[in-house]
Symmetry: C2
Subunit: 237 residues, 2 copies
């Protein structure tokens, strides 16, 4: 059965097993009932953001919408990417988080560096999580971008999983190499707008990061993060 | 002589020949005198956005700053790229224009399609031009992004220069091919958020555009435009 009653993927933080029913959140109810004008008996797709794609049948469509889970499929994880990112200038990170989620990045790790630390206004992380959910819905991805709390660079480096694919965005670096192996984790580190200091550059090199030049001119922090994510997403990163 | 009194490139719409003097605009005067605290006799670099890079000596540094042109070098044009872009949702184009300028795109062509037209608020194009100038300064590029007025898709297609490198961003397209030849113009077309209609797709195919899949999920209009620009900028597009 085609699930074409709604073009976006619904996000259900808790996804029941097949046969179970769940009331959609207010925003999703509005989207299904008012925006898509879906009807009882039609189907939509949803995910819990952990790689599961569910076929959902509309049981009740009023101000609130209730769905019944028809089936759930686990999607293979595929290639994975983390973006470690120093603080950009101003409020430039909202758009970045949204775009990283659209491009399928697994984890966004804001890193505090000696020359620039993240200063998150109250509610900023919650806002990023909402943007990541909206991007998941829009791009119909089943894996939700994880947004970390800002962490000192050293701690973020120490917490990285094993992977040989570690890149430092660097205007003086080498050009990109070929695509990474499927299912390997790729990690990029983008320095904050004032750059990394000497000690940090040494720590990053010691952690196995190789320099990568993303353009023939220097890029803003958030542009470099996005450019790398686009390269990675296309299979070139 | 190193021109290190200011990290950003100055933008001088009219660049005199060597020996000529020019008073900087208020914003650039503030930047040089207050932000960079540069002094008389020090040097900065500037451009008129047409590929010329000038070495400028500071002659007077007060509230207004006057510079004398020491030398001017023409930079080779290199690879070129145009982005034809349908209307995204909401106000998402400002960030896009800034990022395209940072990534070195030559021309941004907003295209009106049957399912979505650009509705530019008063002053929006002037704002885009300011963002393009800011990105040129920041990225130290000497060629300014040209921002076109919105044009109907058919007219934009008819106005394209000769080039075999024409791409349609398409979630169902093929994967990227290799880098384009140096100095060849690459063009991408990204449809508006509701997509192209059948007749438009045929016109685009007839104009020699080949489908290009930028990610394994669908991307928003502005994300696709940016992802392509990043690929192109890295030499992979």
């Amino acid at each position: 059965m085609a699930a074409d009653a709604a073009p976006a993927l619904l996000y259900l933080p808790t996804l029941p097993a097949p046969g179970g029913r769940v009331a959609l959140a207010a925003e999703d109810s509005h989207y299904v009932a008012r925006v898509c004008r879906a009807r009882v008996g039609e189907s939509v797709e949803g995910t819990d953001g952990s790689g599961r794609r569910a076929l959902l049948r509309l049981i009740e469509v009023r101000d609130g919408v209730t769905v019944e889970v028809e089936s759930v499929a686990d999607e293979p994880r595929g290639r994975r990417a983390w973006v470690l990112c120093g603080a950009p200038e101003g409020e430039r990170a909202d758009w970045l988080v949204e775009k990283l989620a659209e491009l399928g990045i697994e984890r966004f790790v804001p890193v505090d560096c000696s020359r620039a630390a993240w200063r998150l206004a109250a509610g900023r992380k919650a806002r990023w999580e909402r943007l990541a959910i909206a991007a998941l819905r829009q791009s119909r991805r089943t894996r939700l971008l994880t947004v970390d709390e800002p962490a000192p660079l050293e701690r973020a480096l120490a917490a990285l999983p094993e992977t040989r694919s570690r890149w430092l965005a660097d205007a003086s670096g080498a050009v990109p190499v070929g695509p990474t192996a499927v299912s390997e984790l790729s990690v990029v580190l983008v320095g904050p707008s004032p750059g990394l200091d000497e000690r940090e550059r040494e720590a990053v090199a010691a952690a196995g990061f190789r320099s990568l030049r993303l353009a023939e001119a220097r890029l803003r922090t958030e542009t470099a993060a996005l450019a790398w994510a686009a390269l990675w997403s296309s299979g070139s990163g």
